[in-house]
Symmetry: C2
Subunit: 206 residues, 2 copies
DNA sequence: TCATTATATGAATTGATATTCACAAGATGA
DNA sequence: TCATCTTGTGAATATCAATTCATATAATGA
C-alpha cells in the first residue's frame, strides 16, 4: 500500500501512526480520562495544536486508535487460524495466537480489555460499531469450528456451541489478565496446555 | 448494630446510605467521569452542598461506595459458602450465589466489573487496598476447597489449584457478563448446569 | 533567491464541573 | 417563646483540560 503513496502521504501516515502509538501508551497507562491531550502530544513530540491537524478531537483520536488496533488484532487472529483444521488444533492455535498478539501489543490489550468491560455495559457507539462487530467475526469462526467438531464427534453435543465459545474466550482471558497484571507474558505462554486441558477435559479426576 | 444508635445517628446513617444508593445508580449508568456530583445530588434529592457534608469529595464518595459494596458482596458470598462441604457442592453454591447477588445488585456488578478491569491494570489504590484484598478472601476459600478436592480424589492433580480457581471465576464471569449485557439475569440462572459441566468435564466428548 | 504553500506551535479562550461558603431553614431543649 | 445548635442550600468560585487560532517555521519549486 505504501508503495503507491508519494513521500508527502507517506510522511503524513507515519506521523499519524506515531501519534496513535503515543496515544496507545498513554491511554493504556492512565485510561481515557486520566490522559490529557497534552500528555499524548508530549509523548509523540508534537505540540497540542498539531494533534488537532490530524484528529478533530480527543474522542476521534481514541476512536481511531481502538478501530485501527481492534481490526488489526482480529484480522491477525483470523488469518492465523485460517487454514487450521481439527477442533483441538484450532483451539490450540487460538490460544497460541493470543499469546503472540499479547506479546506484540500488551498495552493495547490492556486498553482493549478496559474498552470491552468498561464500555460494554454502557453500550457506547464505539462498542456497538467497532469493537463488537470485529469480535463477532472471531466468535463466528469458533462457532462454525465447534459445530463441525460436534458433527464429527470430537465435542459433546449437550452444550450449545455459543456457550463453548464463551467458556474458551473467558478461560483464556482469565489467564491473560493474570499475566498482564504482572506484566509477564511468559507466564501466559506456559499455561497453554493447562488451558487446553481445562477447556477440553475440565477439572474432574477421570 | 442500628439498635445501639440514637435517632440522630440512625437518620444520619440512613441519609448516608441514600446517597450511596443514588451514587450507585448514577455511576453504574454513566461511569465515574460521566456522572456529575449534581447528578448524584439530584437523584438523592439533596443539594450539592449537602453531599459535601457527608463526603469530602466525589472521589471519596466513589471509594466509599466501592468499599461498602465489595465488602458486602464478598461477605455475603463467603457466608453462603460457609458450611458447604464437597467440591461439587461448593462450586454449585459459588455459581448459584453469584446468580443471587447479581439479581440483588445488577447495577453494582456492572460498576464492579468496570472497576475490576479498568483499574486492575492501572493498579489504583482503590484496587490494591479495597477490591483485591476482598477478592483474595474468596480465592483463598476456593483454593482451600480445591486442595481438599484433590486430596480426596475428586479433582485431577495435574493442574494447579490457582489455575482451577481462575478458570471457575472466569467461566462464570463470562456467562454473567453476557447476561448483564442483555439485562437478563434469568439467562444466567439457566446456565448453572452448563457451567458445572464445562468446569468439571470440559467440552470433549467422553 | 523569493513567493507560495504546507505544516507546526503553544498561549489564550472556552466550557464544564468539582468544591466552597455565607446564608437559610429546621430541630432541640431551656 | 427564644437562643442555640444542627443540617440543608445553591449561587459563586476555582480548577482543570479540550479546543482554537494568530503566528512562526519549514518545504517546494519557479
Amino acid at each position: 500500500m505504501s508503495g503507491s503513496m508519494g513521500r508527502r502521504e507517506r510522511e503524513h501516515a507515519q506521523r499519524y501512526n506515531d501519534i496513535l502509538d503515543a496515544a496507545e501508551e498513554c491511554f493504556a497507562e492512565k485510561g481515557f480520562h486520566g490522559t490529557t491531550v497534552e500528555d499524548v502530544a508530549n509523548r509523540a513530540e508534537f505540540a497540542v495544536g498539531t494533534l488537532y491537524k490530524f484528529f478533530s478531537s480527543k474522542d476521534e483520536l481514541y476512536k481511531a486508535l481502538i478501530k485501527e488496533r481492534v481490526e488489526y488484532l482480529i484480522q491477525a487472529g483470523l488469518e492465523a487460524m485460517a487454514d487450521v483444521v481439527g477442533t483441538e488444533e484450532l483451539v490450540r492455535c487460538y490460544i497460541e495466537t493470543k499469546v503472540r498478539l499479547c506479546r506484540a501489543k500488551p498495552n493495547f490489550l490492556r486498553l482493549y480489555t478496559r474498552e470491552r468491560m468498561g464500555d460494554r455495559f454502557a453500550k457506547t457507539e464505539l462498542w456497538r460499531e467497532v469493537v463488537w462487530p470485529n469480535f463477532e467475526r472471531l466468535y463466528t469462526r469458533l462457532t462454525e469450528a465447534f459445530e463441525a467438531g460436534i458433527a464429527e464427534g470430537a465435542l459433546r453435543d449437550d452444550i450449545e456451541v455459543f456457550d463453548m465459545v464463551v467458556a474458551l474466550d473467558n478461560i483464556t482471558d482469565g489467564f491473560l489478565f493474570d499475566a498482564l497484571d504482572d506484566d509477564d507474558i511468559d507466564k501466559y505462554a506456559t499455561k497453554v496446555e493447562v488451558m487446553m486441558r481445562l477447556f477440553f477435559d475440565g477439572v474432574a479426576r477421570k
